[in-house]
């Protein structure tokens, strides 16, 4: 029993260590180091030795001394077993091992005798592994997007793995792609259009949604139930089936290639979500507060303006941010409706740029960074509101 849990512990922990070290090696390869072998087997074996020594030492040394000395020995072994590598790389290996041995703290010969210890070990390391895995898989494309925008086409063709940034270059040289897309490809204009459309959509959506949500939440009228169920059904309907009729009608009305046309469509498609999210919140406001307002002789307009809106600012903020992100990220309608570069949104402009096979990829990625950064910043800054909005609305991309 003890032997079984010990071997599971050794294998799993060493497997985890090999995984992080491989990721570190891959990331270093992308900095221009020429590794050609992941060397998983030797790393795995010395990883097993490391874990074994760690458990055997137990409490004979203080934890800090133990992890420092073990990591040092491991890094030296690693250095001799692997291809030649610069010192910063080995220092990284040292830090990773330090982190790893620190995580091993709770295991000792005694703890390996506990109930279900094998399952617990597996769960622990799968958790650790999962976090590293998810973080890597998610952030890696964003990382590539960012660093590609600082490289040049030629450098990338010579060595597609070298993403190291040359900081000895001047700043204008480093940010060249950004200068080019602003000067030659007019991205300043597209940013303005995208912002105008998105902010406009937010304002118009709120203007329509707040009264409607109030009526659905508070007032009794014929067809109310029908309305609230049809809200749910409508946002199940896809944009792609709206495209052809809207395209034909907008062509005949001359609304294609116009920001106004885009604004109407975005508003209409986000309205159901906005109403659904807002009415849920309005329902939670105590009715007595409104009754006081009615006593004061306020009409519905006054009640909404002076009571409902001030009380539900957080909900309105989350709807606004949410609608902003939908409008900012929207692609399908901007692809269909806009074909003159004069009225492109950012997303459409990037797609247009990629249509030309000659466009260097760093320009494409610089454009992508520009369209991504605002949304991510808004998201990080207002995460709390957005997450509550997302789960409350349970909806729409």
């Amino acid at each position: 029993m003890k032997f079984k849990s010990l071997s599971i512990f050794l294998i799993i922990s060493s497997f985890f260590l090999s995984c992080i070290l491989s990721i570190w090696k891959i990331m270093s390869t992308l900095q221009g180091l020429s590794f050609t072998n992941l060397n998983i087997t030797p790393v795995f074996i010395i990883g097993i030795l490391l874990s074994l020594v760690f458990v055997l030492i137990g409490n004979k040394l203080s934890h800090l001394v133990k992890i420092f000395s073990l990591s040092l020995i491991f890094s030296i072994l690693y250095f001799y077993l692997n291809e030649t590598s610069p010192y910063w790389y080995i220092f990284g290996v040292f830090l990773i091992t330090l982190f790893f041995t620190n995580k091993l703290k709770k295991y000792s010969i005694q703890s390996l005798k506990e109930d279900f210890i094998s399952e617990k070990i597996i769960f622990d390391f799968i958790t650790l592994f999962g976090i590293v895995f998810f973080a890597f898989v998610i952030l890696f494309p964003f990382y590539i997007m960012l660093v590609t925008s600082f490289k040049t086409q030629i450098a990338l063709l010579v060595n597609p793995l070298d993403f190291s940034l040359d900081f000895t270059k001047s700043l204008s040289e480093l940010f060249k792609s950004y200068f080019v897309i602003f000067e030659t490809y007019n991205f300043g204009r597209y940013i303005l259009i995208s912002s105008a459309v998105s902010i406009g959509t937010v304002i118009v959506t709120l203007l329509f949604a707040i009264p409607a949500a109030y009526a659905v939440a508070r007032l009794n009228f014929f067809g109310k139930n029908f309305l609230s169920t049809s809200i749910l059904i409508i946002y199940m309907f896809p944009a792609i089936v709206l495209v052809i009729p809207l395209y034909t009608v907008f062509s005949q009305l001359g609304l294609r290639n116009s920001i106004f046309g885009l604004l109407i469509v975005y508003t209409a498609t986000t309205l159901p979500v906005a109403i659904y999210m807002l009415q849920g919140y309005f329902k939670s406001i105590p009715k007595e507060i409104e009754d006081a307002g009615i006593m004061d002789g306020q009409n519905w307009f006054g009640i909404i303006l002076k009571i409902i809106i001030p009380l539900s600012l957080p909900a309105i903020a989350s709807v606004a941010l949410y609608v902003f992100m939908i409008a900012w990220n929207e692609f399908l309608f901007s692809l269909m409706f806009l074909d003159s570069p004069k009225s492109f949104t950012l997303s459409r402009a990037i797609q247009y740029l990629s249509g030309d096979a000659e466009t260097p990829r760093q320009y494409l990625m610089a454009g992508s960074v520009i369209v991504t950064v605002p949304v991510l910043l808004i998201f990080i800054y207002f995460e709390k509101y957005l997450v509550s909005g997302l789960t409350a609305g349970s909806v729409k991309e």
Binding site: F35, L161, M236, F237, V243, A268
Partner: protein, 419 residues
């Protein structure tokens, strides 16, 4: 008294709701019905404009003195398929200028030439000339003449509103469009995209729900693919997966995991052999599904996490007392608590994946075996420019969606309100 109050309440409610309802009706519901109409018509992209009479004005000198000028109007019917009836033409001239030998279809009065051209058939073209002279023999300013634009008008039918219908589009959808293959691809994409997103969502939620450092950061990072703009993310992936100089292939070749780069987005099939059995995997489609999972598992994650955090800790403590293993705890406590949200997520994601257009369009454009129904709408409507056919495919999508929704509301519709 209360009667009039409730009447007031109703009137107020309608005033508040009506603007939103009308807008949604015009932009969302009306097109769905309009699709039905268009799908029964034989109509192409170039036909959707209402035919207009057009004229291009060219001013030429015919004498040295320039007291006489020749004006050529290049007239045409903008439509290639429809006639314009009763075309009227009108052009204004400055004072003291009059036309010479005016065309019999026209007459000149109070400085205006007005012509009645009758009916123009489709593709009609004519070079129509007017010679003008200055009454006092002075020089005529060409620029002034040129700057005056002629006004044309005529009656034409809106090609969308004619009442000749056909079943051709639906015949083509079902018999000439590889319909079975299309449907299978769509379901393959939808099903695996949905299941994958939910599985990864459960895993991620399970991870973040544990007591680890920096879990709020982790939750934020996990949502990045979902909040990022699809255009940027799709192009980054295309770059990553590019067979010639993409990072992924370069890495795999560099570490000798594969010998030659794999065109992950451009190759329809790849032959795999597992345990001696050879089978063909839809490579490009699988890659697209992975992108889809990557982008949408965060949503599943968010919902499942919210549910997990609502599970009372006492349940787990009781299980600890009973000596349950981590796996038993997951199967007997966690899973039953999240089945409701999973079934709802499954249906919602299934419907949205079924309609997914942007992701596939940006990654492969529907090539190498990734053509799904929504992609087909775009291809038929805008690449082949057969709008009628595109609408017919849209109708197929709407019909399938309606049947999913019926199933959804039958099975779990009641539970949707509980979560």
């Amino acid at each position: 008294m209360s009667d009039s109050l409730s009447k007031l309440e109703k009137r107020t409610a309608y005033t508040l709701v009506l603007p939103a309802v009308l807008l949604v009706f015009a932009i969302v519901l009306f097109p769905i019905f309009a699709n039905v109409w268009i799908s029964f018509k034989d109509i192409e992209l170039k036909d959707i404009r209402i035919p207009e009479p057009r004229a291009k004005k060219i001013v030429k000198s015919i004498s040295e003195k320039q007291s006489e000028l020749k004006i050529v109007y290049k007239l045409r019917n903008s439509s290639l398929i429809q006639e314009i009836r009763n075309v009227q033409f009108q052009d204004k001239f400055p004072k003291d200028i009059s036309p010479i030998n005016l065309d019999p279809r026209c007459n000149f009065q109070s400085k205006k030439v007005i012509c009645n051209f009758g009916n123009w058939e489709a593709k009609y073209r004519e070079n129509f000339e007017i010679n003008i002279k200055h009454n006092n023999g002075e020089k005529i300013d060409k620029k002034i003449i040129k700057s005056q634009k002629p006004i044309l008008s005529g009656k034409a039918d809106n090609p969308l509103l004619t009442t000749n219908f056909t079943l051709e589009n639906f015949k083509k959808v079902f018999y000439e469009n590889n319909f079975v293959e299309l449907l299978l691809t769509t379901f393959y994409f939808t099903f695996f995209g949905t299941v994958g997103a939910i599985i990864f969502g459960i895993l991620a939620a399970q991870l973040v729900n544990q007591n680890i450092q920096g879990r709020t950061y982790m939750r934020g990072i996990l949502l990045f693919p979902y909040v990022g703009p699809v255009v940027a993310l799709a192009y980054t992936w295309t770059l990553l997966l590019d067979p010639n100089s993409g990072t992924l292939n370069a890495l795999l070749v560099n570490f000798n995991i594969i010998e030659t780069p794999i065109n992950l987005l451009g190759q329809k099939y790849i032959t795999m052999s597992i345990l001696g059995f050879e089978f063909k995997l839809r490579l490009a489609l699988t890659t697209v599904i992975f992108f889809e999972i990557w982008r949408y598992f965060p949503l599943a994650f968010l919902f499942i996490l919210a549910r997990l955090q609502a599970i009372p800790q006492t349940l787990y403590e009781a299980a600890d007392v009973d000596g349950a293993s981590p796996i038993q705890k997951f199967i007997h406590i966690t899973l039953p608590q999240i089945t409701a949200i999973i079934s709802i997520l499954f249906m919602i994601r299934f419907i949205w994946n079924f309609n997914k257009f942007e992701d596939i369009f940006l990654l492969t454009g529907g090539a190498s075996g990734t053509r799904t129904l929504p992609i087909n709408v775009y291809q038929q409507g805008f690449a082949v420019s057969d709008i009628g056919m595109g609408s017919a495919v849209s109708i197929v999508i709407v019909m399938l969606l309606l049947s999913f929704m019926v199933i959804y509301f039958r099975l779990i519709g009641k539970r949707a309100n509980e979560v």
